[in-house]
């Protein structure tokens, strides 16, 4: 009888073309997403006098540099305009479909791929962006790569990879009201560390994962990289299949039926061996915020910032001191007493329709005490949010409703947090300077960002949800 096998193993072996003696395998790539930042790779390819192998499997999105305000007037910054133009030229020369600045399907690559049905269970998906792990939510093997590998995929539609170890993260129980996928993700990262899953492909499993919507699973898999994981995935199920049905690029009719049969078997077999397993109880997770400069500097909202003076390990004490100093937080400060300067709702982590609904549920009928920006995950999400009246809720609360792009998550389109300012953010990285030089970032869920906005300080969303329809 065949050995029980994990989802990771099944996906890997379906894509392995050949294997070298040293263990590196040549893998077939089903989908390749490129963006403005992929220009290095196009240059590599041209320098070798080569052309693209599979333009039909390559899709481009303008997201990292695009303006989120005043887009209709074109791009004012000449350097940024050149980045977007460069993508247009490279993709048209190579015959790649581009969801460009003025395309109604434009948005953040990790929102657009799934939305368009380009992301499917069983696929191997790469992109020159670390948050490509997002697509694993569909039971795909999806990971971020650098420019040399992007060039290799453009030229050959394949990649040399070493097989990662397999790790299963079991999240059992049921999350309480006010706790979402972002809180689960931050709880996992805090528990295993920002490098806890290094060298591993993670499978998320358990009742609390099965209960998540596709949007929630995408948030979770998106954050796999913040635990150091090579990729993250959730086995496909009825929730996945229902999401995919009738998406533009998803299979249709008899092909869809055939796919369903295959996809249903894309699960880890009972008894399959993992290199590592860890377990969490979703019911024990409270809403979480980060206080420091890596995503594992995360604590429940009712906690206090750490105090280096009480830390016995001198190396760790120094780390805590420097992180608190950068963040401008006194040691031992109660987290809910930390005042904020602005909020940001956006990014490939938390800007899908469900995220906007969760934030709007808190903001409805309330006014934000600080300024803030809401950048929907895609132009389609923007349209839907406007149709549902969510944009009006954001505007009435005093927040700015903008166009879609990576925006203030990485700050390279000009949407930045000023030096020394503190931002409650639905994004994925609280690294020093991530949202702009000197910017201070607190990561949390969209509902928690909304709670911080109406409170003017980090706040527990739970009391604000009392009596509200969710």
């Amino acid at each position: 009888m065949r050995e029980p096998s994990t989802l990771v193993d099944k996906l890997w072996s379906a894509h392995e073309i050949t294997r070298r003696e040293d263990g590196a395998a040549l893998l077939w790539v089903d989908r390749h997403f490129v963006h403005e930042g992929s220009f290095h790779a196009f240059s590599h390819m041209k320098a070798r006098g080569r052309s693209i192998a599979e333009p039909g499997l390559t899709f481009a999105v303008a997201d990292h540099y695009v303006p989120t305000r005043g887009r209709e007037q074109g791009i004012a910054n000449p350097e940024i305009a050149a980045m977007v133009r460069n993508l247009e030229t490279n993709t048209s020369e190579s015959g790649i479909t581009l969801f460009g600045l003025r395309d109604p399907r434009q948005g953040i690559v990790h929102v657009v791929g799934p939305e368009q049905g380009l992301t499917l269970p069983g696929l191997l998906i790469v992109c020159g962006d670390s948050h490509t792990s997002t697509h694993g939510a569909f039971g795909a093997y999806a990971f971020g790569i650098g420019a040399s590998e992007v060039a290799h995929v453009l030229m050959t539609q394949t990649l040399w990879q070493k097989k990662p170890k397999r790790m299963r993260v079991n999240v059992g129980g049921k999350a309480i009201v006010g706790v979402g996928a972002k809180d689960i993700a931050l709880a996992i990262i805090a528990s295993i560390g920002a490098d806890g899953a290094q060298g591993h492909a993670i499978e998320f499993a358990g009742s609390a994962i099965a209960a998540l919507s596709m949007e929630g699973r995408m948030t979770l898999c998106n954050m796999s990289i913040e635990a150091g994981g090579r990729c993250g995935m959730v086995a496909p199920d009825e929730t996945t299949f229902a999401y995919l049905k009738d998406r533009p690029y998803a299979p249709k009719g008899a092909t869809f039926e055939q796919a369903l049969e295959v996809w249903s078997a894309q699960v880890s077999d009972p008894g399959a061996a993992f290199d590592r397993e860890t377990t969490l109880d979703a019911g024990a997770i409270a809403p979480i915020v980060t206080w420091g400069t890596t995503p594992d500097d995360a604590l429940p909202i009712d906690a206090y910032a750490p105090d280096p003076a009480r830390e016995p390990d001198p190396v760790w004490a120094k780390y805590l001191r420097e992180a608190l100093d950068y963040m401008g937080i006194p040691p031992g400060k109660k987290l809910t007493e930390i005042a904020i300067d602005r909020v940001f709702i956006g990014s490939c982590t938390n800007a899908r329709i469900e995220d906007l609904r969760a934030a709007a549920a808190v903001l409805a009928g309330r006014v934000a005490k600080v300024p803030g920006l809401v950048s929907p995950g895609s132009s389609m999400v923007k349209q839907q949010a406007e149709a549902e009246g969510l944009s009006k809720i954001f505007r009435d609360a005093g927040l700015e409703w903008a166009d879609s792009g990576c925006s203030m998550c990485v700050g390279i389109n000009g949407d930045i947090v000023a030096s020394g300012e503190r931002c409650a953010s639905t994004t994925n990285r609280n690294f020093r300077g991530r949202q702009g030089p000197g910017a201070r970032t607190h990561l949390m869920s969209p509902a928690m960002v909304a709670a911080a906005a109406v409170s003017g300080h980090l706040a527990d969303v739970r009391p604000l949800l009392a009596g509200r329809a969710l």
Binding site: T18, F39, S130, G199, T293, Y319, P437
Partner: protein
């Protein structure tokens, strides 16, 4: 790609944990082509204050380590973003080897494609090397990839490296050439796969 076999050079201690790629190369420089000189802005926000003056306490700013070719870093070096320009910045600033207890997976993969060695030492050994060179900045450190050892004075530290990366660095292999030699295998896989997984194609393509 340039081979890496062995290297004897000055080593600069940078013993901060979690130096992610946003610290190695801030995102605002990602628009730059490599020819713009990414080495100049390596560790920009750690190396310079907001007025653009060098921070005297940042090790790479010390005269003795300006020509260092080796960095001895804290654990989880190069985590975060997949930006390969972080590797370009290190390489173009003259760095050929980073020693640390652990590395971000994508960073390590990008490093090997560019001839930069990521050598993994146990945390205690990495800390010992960092402390020793901080105390005697002029001493040279030798990294031998064939033997997988780091030599400092009379001390020998065996280091770990992914065997695939080791192979590639020792031989200066180019991925594309290797892939080309498998052209027939790729086409055979492709035609078989189209029959096996017709649903895997984008519906409109």
């Amino acid at each position: 790609m340039e081979k890496f076999v062995r290297l004897t050079a000055k080593a600069c201690p940078l013993a901060l944990p979690n130096l992610n790629t946003d610290q190695i190369l801030p995102a605002r420089y990602l628009k730059w082509p490599r020819s713009a000189g990414l080495g100049r802005v390596l560790f920009q926000d750690l190396r310079y204050d907001t007025d653009g003056n060098e921070r005297s306490d940042f090790p790479l700013n010390r005269q003795v380590w300006r020509d260092a070719k080796i960095l001895v870093a804290g654990r989880n070096f190069g985590g975060g973003s997949s930006r390969e320009a972080a590797v370009y910045a290190l390489y173009d600033a003259g760095i050929r080897c980073v020693i640390a207890a652990s590395f971000g997976d994508i960073f390590a993969q990008n490093a090997v494609k560019n001839g930069l060695l990521t050598a993994i030492l146990p945390e205690a050994d990495a800390a010992e090397v960092a402390t020793a060179i901080a105390g005697d900045p002029d001493q040279l450190v030798s990294v031998d990839l064939e033997r997988q050892t780091i030599l400092r004075g009379n001390h020998i530290y065996p280091f770990a490296v992914d065997p695939v990366s080791r192979n590639q660095l020792l031989n200066g292999w180019d991925d594309i050439d290797l892939t080309e030699s498998n052209r027939d295998r790729i086409s055979a896989f492709r035609s078989e796969d189209l029959k096996r997984r017709p649903w895997a194609l984008p519906a409109k393509a």
